[in-house]
């Protein structure tokens, strides 16, 4: 049963954004893709405030979160989400250019659901995005009692 809640893509780099969107488009997902260009905007969306105050209620099916972001960076967004009992169950996938071990360790400490190093190889990148999109948007059932089902 497809979960038609939106996918929140948080990415500041326009080229990465375009490539990621192209990859997601290939999956032909029915989910709406919401784009936030920095960490602050992502939090606004998640907490329905600021420019996203008027959005319909409900959590995204998955957050695809870039690590390096202006204003509030990816790790801070992750921390905020995973330490909030209301938000904690939202799956967060970290997307990053970095192969830095410390970023990886920190993400797992904060409770990231998956961590993907964006490969240089376009096809690999494509496959990774598709897999992620499929898994989290389609296959991954939200936990029972999640707000989407409420």
């Amino acid at each position: 049963m497809a979960d038609l809640r939106p996918i929140l893509l948080v990415e500041d780099n326009p080229r990465d954004l375009e490539l990621t969107l192209a990859a997601l488009a290939k999956c032909q997902l029915a989910n709406e893709i919401v784009v936030a260009r920095d960490g602050a905007e992502a939090l606004d969306y998640l907490y329905r405030r600021g420019q996203h105050a008027a959005r319909p209620p409900g959590d995204p099916a998955v957050v695809l979160l870039d690590l390096k972001l202006p204003k509030v960076d990816g790790l801070q967004v992750l921390e905020k989400v995973k330490t909030d009992s209301e938000q904690r169950q939202i799956p967060v996938v970290m997307l990053t250019s970095s192969r830095e071990e410390r970023d990886l360790l920190r993400s797992y400490e904060l409770g990231v659901n998956a961590f993907v190093v964006k490969p240089v190889d376009f096809n690999a990148f494509f496959e990774a995005i598709q897999d992620l999109g499929m898994f989290w948007a389609i296959l991954n059932e939200p936990p029972p009692g999640g707000r989407a089902n409420a």
């Binding site: 990465d16 490539l19 192209a22 250019s97 970095s98 071990e101 240089v120 190889d121 376009f122 990148f125």
Partner: protein
């Protein structure tokens, strides 16, 4: 240190004598008389029993002559002069009068001029003194100075024999000069044990520099009352020339065959350096003025000896300082660590203390030069010294402290040691070989004084007693010891400076490393992205424009491939730099399983290839599994890559275990390489083949080497053009995790 003579014997002898109350004998020698006057009233407090006999009147006499003396005493006591020196014309006799102040009153001694001694006038003394000064000034060495002194002393005193003793560190006296008319035996060159002069006598000799015993058979004349009315104590006669001496000393004199004696102290740098001692077979009373002249002569001689020794020491010191400067300069110029630099300049090091061997113990390691004890013996000595917290140690007989040192006495009997670390048993040693010497004792010093029924008796024999001294080196002089301790502070400064420089360097490296880390972190994010974008968009374009002609498709592919390669290069570089920082997780690693997994990973690269594998049963290693996986991945990848031109590739993995380390070898029958370039194999971006022939970033082997080094292992490559290559890396059984980057380690 004492020569072979047992320390214990001497100690025992000295102790028995040391209890003699020589300053307060309660009596005087009878050749003069003594009285103690109240400094305020000049009334008599104490007197010698012979007073009336010597002076003709009692001390409270009101005769005009005595009143005149009392007036003179009164003038002296109100003045500044330390000593009273005058004459008293008493009826029928002329007396020499001396006086000194004491807490118990004014001590006045009166002495008739000796009948036996010629009257010696000051007029005659001065020309003699000038002559003496002239002689000692032109004397070439200490022996000549001493010889001039004894000759003059005998001429003015009329003794049969004058000896000049010099004391060594342990108080043994050696006769270094003698003038003798032949009546008494010669003692030239003989050595007298320290026990001949007990310590309290030495102390007194330092303060009161002349004493005369006119007759070794005299009967002491008591002082009345025996206890001072001032403090209730016996009268202190330390500074009285008439002081009665110990009966042991008188017996000693009689045993020596002397009827009279006089000795003058030689005090150099505040220490009793020696004695000039005159003897006559018969009783002999030296005129008070002659005694004063002898005392002056002794003082002049003391100053001359002091000047001579100082000059000698300072020229010696200067010479050794020169050696030290040369040594320090050599060390400063050396790029080796200081232990190596020292041993490299071992000639200078040994010259520093005039030693014939040297050793440096640092970090439980030892370096030796010249003639030294065996390695283990030195290590033991270092440990002992450290346990005793000895910072410096000097001995001319190692076997005295370390009995087993007797075995190598010919190589090292003496040792000087200085500690060069507060926290470790690190020492610098100098050694000197044994020098067998003969010491001519005056009498057998190992025979203690005999304790008779009533009291002690001094030794009877003064005959020559030869002793062979073994297991001893030439003693270390003060200057040599000082040279060693001076060098110690130079070395400590050097070590300290080295540590400071090291700390500063570490600091700089740490800063540089932090910058590098930040740099590589930002590269990992920012440099990878553009390549990803190029590849991504080129692919998107080629997907979208199916209509592109072949040439355009080729261009797009080239763009994509180039960006792809550049991206991999960045990844490899980052991986390489991370390796220096990541901490090792050392665990036992199943190498067979690890190699199997790497082979699976590389399977895609084997498509269409005919590869024969020969893989030994590989022993387990201790290391970081993730990193060792990278080692095998790179080595196997290379083996696969460089055998690509072979119709049948052969790749083997073998291992050898020598107990300490396990060596793993990956060999192939590929294109190999020229050994001439083998030093370039493991450098970053070093390639021995063109990228066209064999693609690659040129980082793989650098990475492999870095991993192996971090495990404390080694790596090497063997090869020949077109004849295959073999890479062997060894891992220690117990890896010493060595941080690769200087930074965090």
């Amino acid at each position: 240190m004492a020569d072979h003579v047992s320390e214990a014997t001497i100690e025992a002898t000295i102790e028995t004598c040391a209890s003699e109350p020589i300053r307060i004998p309660g009596a005087i020698q009878p050749y003069g008389a003594l009285m103690v006057l109240d400094p305020q009233t000049l009334s008599c407090l104490q007197r010698s029993r012979n007073f009336a006999m010597i002076v003709g009147v009692e001390p409270d006499s009101m005769t005009p002559e005595f009143q005149q003396l009392r007036a003179e005493i009164s003038r002296w006591r109100l003045g500044d002069a330390a000593q009273l020196l005058t004459r008293a014309n008493m009826p029928g006799r002329l007396l020499h009068v001396t006086g000194h102040r004491s807490p118990q009153g004014l001590v006045i001694e009166l002495e008739p001029p000796p009948a036996t001694s010629p009257d010696f006038s000051l007029d005659g003394f001065y020309p003699r003194l000038r002559g003496f000064l002239e002689r000692i000034r032109s004397a070439p060495d200490l022996a000549a100075i001493a010889q001039a002194a004894v000759a003059d002393m005998r001429a003015i005193t009329g003794f049969n024999r004058i000896l000049l003793y010099a004391f060594d560190h342990d108080g043994h006296g050696t006769v270094i000069a003698e003038d003798n008319d032949g009546v008494l035996p010669s003692y030239q060159g003989l050595r007298f044990p320290a026990s001949d002069i007990p310590p309290q006598a030495r102390d007194l000799y330092r303060l009161n520099r002349i004493r005369l015993i006119g007759d070794s058979n005299y009967t002491p004349c008591p002082i009345d009352p025996p206890y001072s009315p001032v403090d209730g104590q016996p009268l202190d006669l330390s500074f009285a020339s008439l002081r009665s001496v110990s009966p042991i000393h008188l017996e000693y004199m009689r045993n020596m065959g002397t009827g009279s004696s006089m000795s003058v102290s030689l005090v150099v740098d505040g220490e009793l350096w020696g004695l000039i001692s005159g003897h006559r077979r018969e009783p002999w009373h030296v005129h008070p003025q002659t005694r004063a002249a002898c005392e002056s002569l002794g003082q002049i001689l003391s100053l001359q000896i002091e000047a001579y020794l100082r000059a000698e020491r300072s020229s010696e010191r200067l010479a050794l300082k020169g050696v030290e400067s040369q040594l320090l300069a050599a060390m400063a110029a050396s790029d080796k660590d200081f232990e190596e630099a020292l041993i490299h300049s071992s000639d200078l090091l040994m010259a520093l203390t005039r030693a014939e061997g040297a050793a440096i113990v640092t970090h439980e390691d030892i370096r030796r030069a010249g003639t030294t004890p065996p390695r283990d013996a030195i290590m033991r000595i270092a440990a002992d010294l450290f346990a005793r917290q000895q910072e410096t140690f000097a001995t001319d007989s190692l076997s005295e402290t370390w009995p087993d040192a007797a075995e190598y006495a010919d190589r090292a009997s003496g040792m000087l040691a200085i500690s060069i670390s507060q926290i470790r048993p690190d020492y610098l040693f100098w050694f000197r070989p044994e020098v067998v010497r003969t010491v001519n004792w005056s009498g057998d010093p190992t025979k203690p004084m005999s304790a008779g029924k009533e009291r002690l008796h001094p030794r009877q024999s003064f005959a020559l007693w030869k002793e062979q001294v073994h297991q001893r080196c030439l003693p270390w002089t003060d200057v040599e010891r000082d040279s060693a301790t001076g060098f110690r502070s130079s070395i400590q400064n050097m070590i300290l400076r080295g540590a400071e420089e090291k700390a500063e360097l570490t600091d700089r490296l740490e800063r540089a490393n932090k910058e590098l880390e930040a740099f590589s972190y930002s590269i990992s994010h920012d440099l990878r992205a553009p390549f990803r974008h190029i590849v991504g968009f080129a692919e998107l374009l080629s997907d979208r424009e199916k209509s592109l002609d072949a040439k355009s498709q080729h261009y797009l592919r080239t763009i994509s491939e180039a960006a792809h390669a550049a991206g991999r290069l960045v990844d490899d570089l980052l991986n390489f730099s991370q390796l220096g920082r990541a901490s090792l997780r050392i665990k036992p690693v199943d190498m067979n399983a690890l190699v199997l997994s790497v082979r699976r990973l590389l399977e895609p690269e084997l498509a269409g290839r005919d590869v024969t594998w020969r893989i030994d049963d590989l022993p387990q290693a201790n290391g970081d599994a993730v990193m060792i996986t990278q080692v095998f991945q790179n080595l196997l990848q290379n083996a696969i890559k460089f055998t690509a031109t072979r119709t049948r590739a052969e790749i083997s993995i073998t291992a050898e275990d020598d107990g300490d380390r396990i060596a793993y070898t990956v060999a192939d029958n590929g294109v190999g390489f020229e050994m001439d370039y083998s030093d370039k194999l493991f450098g970053v971006f070093q390639r021995l083949h063109s990228a066209e022939e064999f693609p690659g970033t040129g980082i793989g082997l650098a990475l492999v080497k870095r991993i192996v080094m971090r495990h404390g292992g080694t790596i090497s490559g063997r090869g020949a053009p077109d004849a295959g290559a073999a890479f062997t890396f060894s891992l220690p059984r117990r890896p010493i995790t060595r941080d690769a980057g200087p930074p965090h380690g």
